[in-house]
Amino acid sequence: MAVLRVENIEKSFGSTRVLKDISFDLEEGQALAIIGSSGSGKTTLLRCLNFLERPDTGRIFVKDELIFDAADPATQLEKDVRRKRLHFGLVFQNFNLFPQYTALQNVMLAKSLLAREDENYKANKKAVEKEIEEKAMALLDKMNLADRAGYYPHQLSGGQQQRVAIARALALEPDILCFDEPTSALDPELTGEVLKVIRELAEEHMTMIIVTHEMAFARDVADNIIFMNKGVIAEQGPAKEIIDNPQTERLKAFLSV
């Protein structure tokens, strides 16, 4: 079963068409890499999935549930968007950690705010908070950051910050975790430690969409690759085939630089 189905997504900003007729499926437990030059629409596509942008046309299904239909305003109600967003996690290029919270608090915040909406929260407050904290610590540990739990973002390196951001996204247990050029703001040394944890997530069959410029990484870690060019999917297929045996001139040119 496809955990995510994207059908005929289009998006324009003013008169600029950024996404044209984007359709793809993503199977549960698979990693999809999206590659392409800057301005090809990769980031906009991720933002559409996370409801940060609203597509002009098209439909999005998660686990066979229609979560967005541009033609049906009933699927776009503001009150439902919050819940629907939780199907997805998003890791940003610039981390966007909350600077006034420690690494641990960054990971816990959203989860504990959500827990407060539960009617039984008040009665079990202590136990619930304790569980959230334990899970957050386990996630930081998984990111090799257990010893940095009490640090504020400005006390962490870029690579550490990005790993906190990954833990923060994982804390909400999304069905699909999206990465928007997660290493583009990092130097090569720090890039490695972030790619390593993403690779580990792929090995655990976390369903992921990774927008990246790291071709070797995409080839190794992703199951499938989508190559985007000028807002359209120019080529898609199994990762190794796409990288080793590009069909279109555009992709050949892109990979040769």
Partner: protein, 228 residues
């Protein structure tokens, strides 16, 4: 003519009473204007254009005219023009009118500082909150507010120091604050007349108080240094 040492206790007593009124006006203005400024800043940032235009127009008028004129209008307009002297004639009435003028005036200045503070927070903070399923309210109060406070403490401190001295403008509607108290000895009061030094001496009060505030606001700034 009395000597300085004979005058001093009398003047000191009178200036203290005046300074108390200065302090009252100062604190009421802060307590009123800090939250009101936030509400005004929301008005000037709302996407609902008529409210935004109206708010920005009012802020322009308030910031664009002297506080002294605003004091005169607020105090005298109801009685002289509308024939409805809502403030009454006593010191309490003058104090209340002064509070209204000061709170509104400072709220408008604060609103612009808040607006700058809110708009300087990167969009990524909103987006990170949104993708984590947080509501707009949670994002504002849990994520952006403290970052905003950190950014606005220096400019707000500046306004607070200015406010200490601006309270003397209430002299124009005869509020019995410290300048009024000092000036009384020039005209003649409690057997002292023609003495200018009490008026000069009021500066010591302002300087001491702004000194205390500078230290306190500096501490607040330091306390917010734990994050960047």
């Amino acid at each position: 003519m009395t000597t300085f040492s004979e005058q001093f206790p009398i003047v000191f007593q009178a200036l203290n009473v005046g300074f108390l009124q200065t302090l009252k006006l100062f604190f009421v203005t802060l307590i009123g204007a800090l939250p009101l400024g936030l509400i005004i800043s929301f008005g000037s940032m709302t996407k609902f254009k008529p409210v935004q235009w109206l708010t920005r127009f009012v802020v322009w008028v308030v910031r664009g005219t002297p506080l002294m004129i605003q004091l005169l209008i607020i105090y005298y307009f109801p009685g002289l023009v509308l024939h409805n002297p809502v403030w009454g004639g006593g010191e309490d009435g003058r104090f209340f009118a002064a509070c209204v003028a000061f709170v509104f005036n400072y709220a408008c200045y604060f609103s612009e500082i808040y607006r700058g503070g809110i708009q300087s927070i990167p969009k990524g903070q909103d987006e990170a909150g949104l993708v984590l399923g947080m509501t707009r309210g949670q994002i504002f109060f849990r994520v952006k507010l403290l970052q905003m406070i950190k950014r606005i403490v220096p400019p707000i401190s500046n306004e607070v120091i200015t406010l200490v001295k601006d309270t003397s403008l209430a002299r124009i509607i005869a509020l019995q604050e410290i300048i009024w108290a000092g000036q009384a000895f020039l005209k003649g009061s409690q057997g002292i007349s023609g003495a200018i030094w009490p008026l000069f001496f009021t500066a010591v009060y302002y300087l001491a108080f702004t000194g205390v505030l500078t230290v306190l606001l500096g501490k607040l700034e330091k306390r917010l240094e734990f994050f960047r």
